[in-house]
């Protein structure tokens, strides 16, 4: 290339110069002058034309623009609502109808879904970017209770204690799950930054038909409300799998992502009596002063048990009484939806997931095109290893469901803040909450409604209400502080590597301890 250039240069040097100095410069001025004038004329014509259009002939041309403009002055407002893609696919249109009919939202307020990502960590990055750039839409963000706190601390979302009407605020203060609502508050001032949309408690979901074929009787053994030990449960999984033509025994989520740190690993660890930062009282800080308790025998056991489930590893007989080889190595790359699909298609016996999975998988297979199990779907509390009385860390042990759930937060740069109160009021309507429960399996955020007969009557999730109540009573929040997002990716990576047999639980937890110490000291 360089050689070619040199050759051309030497050959054409003189000609080039000669042409350049006389002709091309004038041409250049002429051309740029002409295009400049043309552009100016075009611009003026546009301006003049546009101005005239306002009075008479422009109606046709500006048709669409005028309609929207007029609509705006008449009060039709479109609210953009950032939401998970699965929810929109499942029942996007129905949710809009429910907002107007069950929630009583004015007809001139229209909702537009803005689907984000299905991985909560990606949603967080996405919203962080939007809010940091002072973008004015979406107006509403559906945020995971696990990271709303980070947005509050950075001052990126609207303080509702300052703007919402007093009656709505006191309704939330008095009639909502207070532990869940607290994750939407600024810890020191107690100001509210999010409207709780739904709390989320995962359960162990299973194929009732296969379990019964294998000779178990979930009804009389009270599987729905009485948690099993992991040991007993592992034998049930192995037994049912051996008796049925299914590919997987147990599917869950263990990818390197937020969900492993906040939820699946947290649940198993807590059911063994372990915790990240000592007992329950240290969940939300004080950062830097709380103990780091991941390099403890109960945490090693929790990880090794998962390894036993996946690889049937012996660990010198520690898990000799457990059944192994019941979960595929695929869980190491699975988040919620990839792990649910084999279960919904009938290829797995047990599956750990959130209530949305009960709503989707519990649909009558004849009424939906998606794979579903209908009445063959059962649910039970997540199994445990040590009872609460024997737990090493205070407040852990026993069946544990990670506290999930989402809040609605509001964009302080939105152009539609004036109608936000009306959307909030529609969302808080109990009938709307029941509709969300029916359509998406999103649990009502009011304990009164959560425990009501009305909720129990909502098909299909109402069938599993007893189990969900047990899960709710044993919920474990993730330790959300401003440093949690850094800690959680570290935790997820360590947990994934241990269960993937890339390192031992002892080594991984020792190095996790030192990196957690680094993030705590800030």
């Amino acid at each position: 290339m360089a050689a070619t250039q040199r050759k051309t240069m030497s050959n054409n040097h003189s000609d080039d110069d000669g042409q350049r100095s006389s002709v091309s410069r004038r041409r250049f001025v002429a051309a740029s002058g002409a295009s400049g004038v043309a552009a100016t004329l075009a611009g003026c014509a546009d301006l003049v034309g546009g101005g005239d259009g306002g009075s008479d002939s422009g109606d046709g041309g500006d048709g669409t623009g005028t309609t929207t403009g007029d609509g705006g002055s008449d009060g039709a407002t479109t609210i953009q609502w950032g939401i998970g893609p699965t929810a929109v696919q499942t029942a996007g249109e129905e949710m809009k109808t429910a907002l107007h009919e069950a929630g009583g939202l004015r007809d001139d307020i229209e909702i537009e879904w803005v689907p984000s990502a299905s991985d909560t960590g990606e949603v967080r990055s996405n919203y962080n970017r939007i809010l940091n750039a002072d973008q004015s839409d979406p107006d509403i963000f559906q945020m995971d209770n696990g990271w709303v706190n980070i947005f509050i601390q950075r001052g990126l979302i609207q303080n509702l204690s300052e703007t919402l009407p007093e009656d709505l605020l006191s309704d939330i203060n008095e009639n909502y799950f207070s532990g869940f609502t607290d994750t939407a508050r600024e810890p020191s001032s107690g100001d509210l930054y999010g409207v709780p949309l739904f709390p989320d408690f995962p359960t162990m979901q299973y194929r009732k038909d296969l379990v019964e074929q294998a000779g178990y009787d979930p009804e009389s053994e009270n599987w729905a409300t009485e948690p099993m030990t992991w040991e007993e449960w592992s034998h049930v999984v192995a037994d049912v799998k051996d008796n049925a033509d299914v590919e997987y025994g147990f599917t869950t989520q263990w990818d390197i992502y937020e969900g492993t740190a906040c939820c699946t690993f947290n649940e198993v660890m807590s059911s063994w009596g372990g915790a990240y930062f000592g007992g329950r009282e240290n969940l939300f800080g004080p950062v830097g002063e709380r103990p780091i308790t991941v390099d403890e025998p109960e945490v090693h056991n929790a990880l090794n048990m998962m390894r036993k489930f996946v690889h049937d590893e012996g660990f010198d007989g520690t898990f000799a009484d457990y059944a192994g080889n019941i979960a595929p190595t695929d869980i190491l790359g699975w988040i919620e939806e990839p792990s649910r699909s084999p279960f919904a298609e009938g290829d797995a016996v047990f599956h750990r997931n959130w209530p949305y999975s009960l709503a989707l998988t519990g649909r009558n297979p004849e009424e939906t095109e998606d794979p579903a199990l209908g009445e063959d779907l059962g649910a039970m509390p997540i199994p445990y290893a040590v009872p609460e009385s024997e737990a090493a860390q205070p407040g852990t042990g026993g069946t544990t469901s990670a506290l999930g759930g989402w809040h609605l937060t509001f964009n302080p740069n939105s152009d539609n803040l004036d109608v936000i109160d009306e959307v909030v009021s529609a969302v808080m309507e109990p009938d709307f909450a029941l509709e969300l429960f029916r359509l998406q399996g999103w649990l009502p955020p009011r304990p009164e409604l959560f425990n009501s007969d009305e909720a129990r009557d909502v098909a299909p999730v109402g069938r599993y209400m007893e189990t969900l109540q047990v899960a709710g009573e044993n919920a474990m929040a993730r330790p959300v502080t401003p440093v949690w997002s850094q800690q959680s990716s570290d935790i997820a990576q360590s947990a994934n590597r241990v269960v993937g047999q890339e390192t031992s639980a002892e080594d991984a937890m020792a190095s996790l301890t030192s990196s957690l110490e680094a993030t705590e000291q800030n």
Partner: protein
Amino acid sequence: MSTETAGGERESRRSGPLVRVTRWMENLSDTTYAYLLLLPVFVLLGSIAIYPLLRTFEMSLFAQTFTGLGEFVGPGNYVDLFTGNMDRYLPGQPTFLPQSFGIQGLVTSALTMTLLFAFVSVFFETIIGMGQALILDQDFYGRRWIRAAIIIPWAVPVVIQGMMFYLMFQPSIGFLTPPLADLGLLAPTNTLNDPASATFVIIVADIWKTSAFMALLILAGLQSIDRGLYDVAKVAGASKWQQFKHITFPLILPTIAVAVLFRSVAAMRVYGIIDIVSSCTVVPSLSCMVVESFFSGFNAAAGTIAFTTAAIIGLVVMSLILWQGEEAI
């Protein structure tokens, strides 16, 4: 416009603003004229590239806290980056400098991982690209079609390319994982979350895509070689290998240097393919660290790493230029 009125009138007699501008412009020196023409580009670059760059640099001079930007600390963040104090703002286990010189230390370091990726991928792309170029330089039937076909991977968008490789190597559905795992090249399970295996897949994906780019650049160099030189070589009895060694290779070396330069700069910035095939926590490249820390709201950390990355790329480019001298540029 002016040309229409130029008609029969003598140029020197005419007057008016347009003529004055033309005359002024015609009397400019070559250098001044060149700068005049470059002015719009400078204005554009200044407003859309230089300003954000300076602003990013400014941000990198403020302390990073978990809740936002702190006070002015000057070059403190750069010191923190090289002493490991910045590592806590990076996602997951990755660090900036290697913590140890074992495999585990090297694959979790953003710096060594980026250099490793750039070196290995550019090395193989150059070899394969040169091979392709030498073949394409021959006369054979259907050469035009082959040339078009060979460039197709280059035209595949990075997201599609990423999905292709993700699906080929995803342990439960990918058809390539089991045979390569049998050979010991990949981890049989959890493949795309295993740092060594994921790096391997990403390097292969990059080579697949960009060898064609190398081939085209090198082919351009090959075609500019005077064919007469080969005739002389044949008459003198030179073997094919001697022809390559004494004619082809020295003449395309400057072209190869430019191609290697382009590819190295691009490889040092790798991000998209990593994010799609695996994740930044598993394969930490420098750009990954910039993007991830920026998305987590750590702007000072992102700015610091971004400028350090730019400096490292600058060093690599500089050493390449020194290696090939001025001929390369």
